[in-house]
């Protein structure tokens, strides 16, 4: 009994990070309408940045967010401007090709520049745990969870209450009408890509104290993020957050009770089943889903 609670808690905390990465994807997906196959690579780039900031300057991973997040925001803006914008009006497949190409380039540039070795950040609290009613809680995971909760709340507030946030939501609802209402769509695309990228980057930074980075670390994140977005519903931040936690728990439970090697297989299985049974999402209704190929 205690084991299952322990496993669920640890999965739930990891799920917070999945939620962050997925919310980044959801924003890009919902606003820019691009299937970003390079999403996990953004997490990877952020993880490497965190690693090198620690390696060369001894910077604490949590402090490095101050540098990594703005850099990754810019990175996202540049990608939108250079890679995505020229093919904004091409077919869905062309957009996939372009982002697949981007993910290949990022992965292999990382391999060339950083080598294929697993890199970790050594911090004193990396293995730190606290006990709560017989359950051991990893401190970096707890921090990650609350940071995720906080930043998702901030984004939610931003989207609900500011003019720019409302404009972004209007784009998710209907591009053409948003444009007709005078929303500067191109500029907001840049903003959405930047924010989406920064959110994924935050996920990457928060992962660093307790996991390692290597060039292909991003591939599962791309798939996880899509699973979470599909389960949570396009355009639904709350749904995405819950779905992220859900996938975290599924991974932890599956990894413990079935086989650690198969834990990923389990949520890919869930993905395929979920997408077949209820492609409009479990929690949200998935606004504009049809346009991007979800019916």
């Amino acid at each position: 009994m205690e084991l299952i609670v322990q496993v669920c808690v640890s999965g739930l905390l990891l799920g917070g990070i999945y939620a962050l990465i997925s919310i980044g994807l959801n924003l890009i997906f919902g606003v820019v309408r691009i299937i970003n196959f390079a999403h996990g690579e953004m997490v990877m780039v952020a993880m490497y940045l965190t690693f090198y900031l620690n390696y060369f300057f001894g910077m604490d991973p949590y402090v490095s967010t101050l540098i990594v997040l703005p850099v990754m925001f810019l990175f996202g803006v540049v990608i939108q401007r250079i890679i995505v914008q020229p093919i904004q009006n091409s077919s869905a497949n062309m957009k996939i090709f372009a982002t697949v190409a981007l993910s290949l380039i990022l992965q292999n540039v990382a391999l060339i520049v950083c080598s294929g070795n697993f890199r970790t950040v050594q911090v004193s609290y990396g293995m730190g745990t606290m006990e709560l009613g017989g359950i051991f809680i990893s401190i970096p995971r707890l921090v990650a969870f609350f940071a995720a909760l906080l930043s998702v709340s901030l984004l939610y507030f931003f989207l609900k209450n500011t003019y720019t946030g409302k404009a972004l939501r209007a784009i998710v609802e209907d591009h053409t009408i948003a444009r007709l209402m005078g929303v500067k769509v191109q500029k907001l695309y840049l903003l959405a890509f930047g924010i989406g990228c920064a959110f994924s980057a935050l996920g990457g930074v928060l992962l660093m104290p307790f996991s390692s980075v290597y060039p292909t670390v991003g591939i599962p994140f791309t798939l996880i993020a899509f699973i979470v977005v599909v389960l949570g519903g396009l355009g639904s931040m709350g749904g995405t957050f819950l779905a992220g936690l859900f996938i975290g728990v599924v991974e932890a439970v599956g990894g413990t009770y079935v086989s650690p090697a198969l834990k990923e297989a389990i949520y890919f299985g869930i993905f395929i089943i979920a997408i077949l049974i209820r492609p409009q999402g479990i929690f949200g209704k998935g606004k504009g889903s049809e346009e991007v190929g979800l019916k």
Partner: protein
Amino acid sequence: MRNNKLKTAATIFLLGLLAVPLYFTSTFVLHMFTLVFFYIALTAAWNIPAFGGKFSLGHAAFFGLGGYTAAILYVKLGISPFIGVVAGTFVAMVGGVILSFPLIRLKGPFFTLSSIAFAEVLRMVAVDWRALTNGSVGINIPFKPSWLNLTFTSGAPFYYMALGLALLVIGLAWWIRSSSLGYHLRAAAADEDAARALGINTAKAHFLGLMWSSGLTGMIAVFYVFYNYVLEPGTAFSMDLFSLQPAMNGIIGGMGTVWGPVIGAIIMTPLGEFLRFYLGTIQQGLNFVVYGLMLIAVVNFVPGGIVSLIEPWFKKKKSGDSSAADN
């Protein structure tokens, strides 16, 4: 007649290809040709669902299923790979049946994603199911040269087999594309809803397309695995080698056309080997950076692929046919 000239040229070219192993004894040259033929076959098989606008990044699933089936039958039960080819094709098609659910139900990007997930799941199962697959250690095909064992002391038999496979799959792709199935798929690629409204059973067309594609990929895999003597989950279900590479060949050559995959494989395979061997020793991974840049260039400047640049020359002769199904 220009058509006759073309036929004569093609015949001479084919005879030339048949003579290659007689004149080039260098294993490198033979290996390169064999590899190109394998990739032509794999890309042309990958390309069949693309007639219908469906873009898979998970064909490694069918490759792995076919290869593993034949290798397990041969190594564990001593069954000849020639029976293994049939079994491997069949098992790959069973994989195709499973992937056909998302194929029919989901549009573009979500089919692509589920195909990646499908191949990844199979790779993980292959790593985990040690009793059957030997896990990450993989299966070695013992070196017992004999026709029945599909093991040879020289590279020539595999050269001819790969050439045969390439011709077979190109022929089948051409036949499928100009059959009613091909027209149904192309109609679905152009406009799924309009095709349905005209009474085309697009679900059936997509399904049949994937059946051809998965079966052929499984079949090619058996020969490829016996050519390489070894298979392990990381290569047999390799995203890079058998999902991305055929897709990239297809896109750069011209997705959804008959000759696009051929042109793509002919250009990309030697380029890939060159980058891997000559630059790869200096910088591992540089080949994929180059691929990525090429892909972005193609998407931006020649969305129809290289075939769309060459096609106008041939079009003068015959008009009407083969507009690049790019959707």
